[in-house]
């Protein structure tokens, strides 16, 4: 039995906010099944007594003194925006019609 179905992949694509065509979904479902079969072997050696490592070096919060430093102007920050209005990013509607 496949480890992952076409419907599962469609759900993942929705979670990842990527529209996918039927052809893409068919193809990816097959590939994902093969890839997951190959990577699942990590479970063979991952014993309960082995601690997890998320980072190769210890990661701690790094603080600096809370002083204002030069930074991008709003025009610089907006320079790559697909759309802008009144010194702000302009985005498509987030809530539905009133």
């Amino acid at each position: 039995m496949a480890a992952i179905s076409r419907d599962d992949v469609a759900h993942l694509a929705k979670l990842a906010r990527i529209d996918m065509s039927d052809v893409e979904l068919d193809h990816l479902a097959k590939e994902m099944d093969v890839i997951l079969g190959a990577v699942a072997r990590v479970q063979e050696v991952a014993g309960v007594d082995v601690p997890a490592t998320s980072h190769p070096i210890p990661v701690n919060n790094v603080f600096r003194v809370d002083v204002v430093k030069p930074s991008l102007t709003s025009q610089e920050a907006l320079s790559g925006a697909p759309a802008q209005s009144e010194d702000r990013f302009k985005v498509p509607q987030i809530l539905g019609e009133e």
């Binding site: 093969v34 890839i35 082995v50 070096i57 697909p82 985005v91 498509p92």
Partner: protein, 499 residues
């Protein structure tokens, strides 16, 4: 006479001696790009005007007698994963087509401060995901040794630019081998410094716990000179290590390995490795023994699981990192006709903007991080990471550095692995453990494989923040091989006629 075939160190000396100006040197490289890049396609953008301006500024300072950094006036190619203010930066993706960053990456700031001349941006697999540069949205880069073959990836553009004498130096980034594997298959030198050794600020993130920028060059000394320019603590990168930069230039000049113990990793070099690649690897070991090193065999049993763990950790981190490409603040936006919601526009943009490999990895990572599968996949992979680090610690008890072939094969044909992602992933089998443990890794040419006459790479791995050790061993091996060959390996590469 200084030519595009000189080393960066020779160019720096000639500039300091006044026998060539940076404008002349930069123009020579722009001419070479003009001649060959239609065939190689190493560059996505060439900044002719900007490069000549930077070069002129260095020449003026030198005339005034200003104190200049060692590489001042030497040209360099920058991987398109690095933000450079005002210069198109695409990361090999349609998603960022037309974007010009409003700021410089720390690496770029350091290069500019050192007077290094940035020629342009180099091609790469989209968002640095790939081992062949075929995943670039702007078409593949061709290997200067054989234009029908891949130059490695993801930093194939940087490696090819160096090998085709379009630049003496380049910047790469290495998440699972993206500096070292391209170096191996193009007959050049590439170094992944210790994680945290070079700032990641302004490096477009793929997998933040693995990504590391580093130098690409034609010699070990040239790589070391560039390493010292870009390395060092940065307040803007919270994972940057606050410690002195290892003295890699001094180490590269040592040319002595007497008394050093070199550990051959048993697990890297058996099945799946091309015979010609292994032959050159063993010859290189012999050269190191002749130079006075002691060879020991070490075993790292978890390495057999490194690839599987990598293909869970890297996609997981990428699925999170690439969420920032939401079409709201920068990059392309598709389908915003007033009728669609932000979410619909986002979904359409990500459908259009991302290529197949990037989508594959985002979906894989989303799966590995989803509740119900998290422990079995991402959690287990993190445990494998612990075991890999334990393997390295034990091996470094027995040896000062570890070695292996860099990549299992020489450059393959463009298109060969198109429909087999797993076969493609195997290219990084020997380079991935280094990223997982955050240690240093270098690839330098070991010669040409018997079967196909294409370059093979020799990998040296050094403990964290002991990057100087790999430069010491690499510099010594390079000198020993050079005296056998009589001339640099790249002098055997076919001459590119250009178009």
């Amino acid at each position: 006479m200084t030519t595009i075939k000189s080393t960066a160190a020779q160019m720096a000396d000639a500039l300091a001696a006044g026998s060539i100006t940076s404008v002349e040197l930069t123009q020579q490289h722009l001419d070479q790009i003009e001649r060959v890049d239609s065939a190689v396609h190493a560059f996505l953008y060439v900044d002719k005007e900007g490069a000549l301006e930077q070069a002129n500024a260095v020449d003026v300072k030198r005339k005034q007698g200003d104190l200049l950094s060692p590489l001042a006036g030497v040209p360099l190619a920058l991987k398109d994963v690095m933000a450079q203010k005002g210069i198109p930066t695409t990361c090999g993706s349609k998603m960022l087509e037309g974007w010009r960053p409003p700021y410089d990456a720390t690496v770029v700031t350091k290069l500019k401060n050192a007077g290094v001349v940035i020629l342009g941006k180099t091609n790469m697999d989209e968002f640095a995901m790939g081992s062949s540069t075929e995943n670039s949205a702007y078409g593949p880069t061709h290997n200067p040794w054989d234009l029908t073959r891949i130059p490695g990836g993801s930093g194939g553009g940087s490696a090819a630019a160096i090998a085709a004498f379009e630049a003496p130096l380049a910047i790469g980034t290495d998440t699972g081998g993206s500096i070292r594997q391209p170096a191996a298959v193009t007959g050049t030198v590439g170094v992944k410094p210790t994680y945290g050794g070079v700032s990641r600020y302004g490096l477009i993130a793929f997998s933040s716990s693995l990504d590391q920028a580093g130098p690409c060059a034609r010699t070990v000394l040239d790589a070391a000179l560039l390493h010292e320019v870009i390395a060092g603590h940065d307040q803007r990168d919270s994972t940057s290590i606050n410690a002195p930069v290892p003295q890699v230039v001094k180490a590269a000049k040592k040319l002595d390995v007497k008394g050093l113990k070199i550990g051959v990793v048993k697990e890297l070099g058996g099945e799946g490795f091309q015979a010609g690649v292994l032959n050159r690897f063993h010859e290189s070991l012999d050269a190191l023994v002749e130079a006075g090193a002691e060879i020991v065999e070490v075993s790292c049993p978890t390495f057999d699981y490194a690839l599987a763990a990598y293909y869970l950790i890297a996609p997981s981190e990428c699925s999170s990192n690439l969420a920032r490409f939401d079409s709201m603040r920068y990059g392309i936006r598709i389908g915003d006709d007033g009728s669609r919601s932000a979410e619909e526009v986002m979904n359409l943009t990500r459908h259009e903007g991302f290529g197949p490999e990037v989508k594959r990895r985002i979906i894989l990572g989303t799966y590995a991080l989803s509740s119900g599968y998290y422990d079995a996949y991402y959690g287990s992979a993190q445990k494998v990471r612990t075991l890999l680090m334990r393997d390295f610690s034990a091996a470094f008890q027995l040896a000062d550095v570890l070695v292996s072939p860099t990549a299992p094969t020489t450059a393959f044909k463009i298109g060969q692995n198109d429909n087999d992602p797993l076969a493609m992933y195997l290219n990084d089998i020997a380079t991935i453990p280094v990223n997982m443990a955050g240690i240093g890794g270098m690839s330098l040419p070991s010669g040409l494989a018997d079967e196909d006459g294409l370059p093979a790479g020799f990998q040296i791995m050094s403990p964290a923040m002991k990057d100087d050790l790999m430069y010491q061993v690499g510099g010594t091996l390079e000198a020993a091989l050079l005296s056998r060959w009589g001339a640099p390996l790249l002098s055997q590469a076919p001459v590119l006629a250009g178009k």
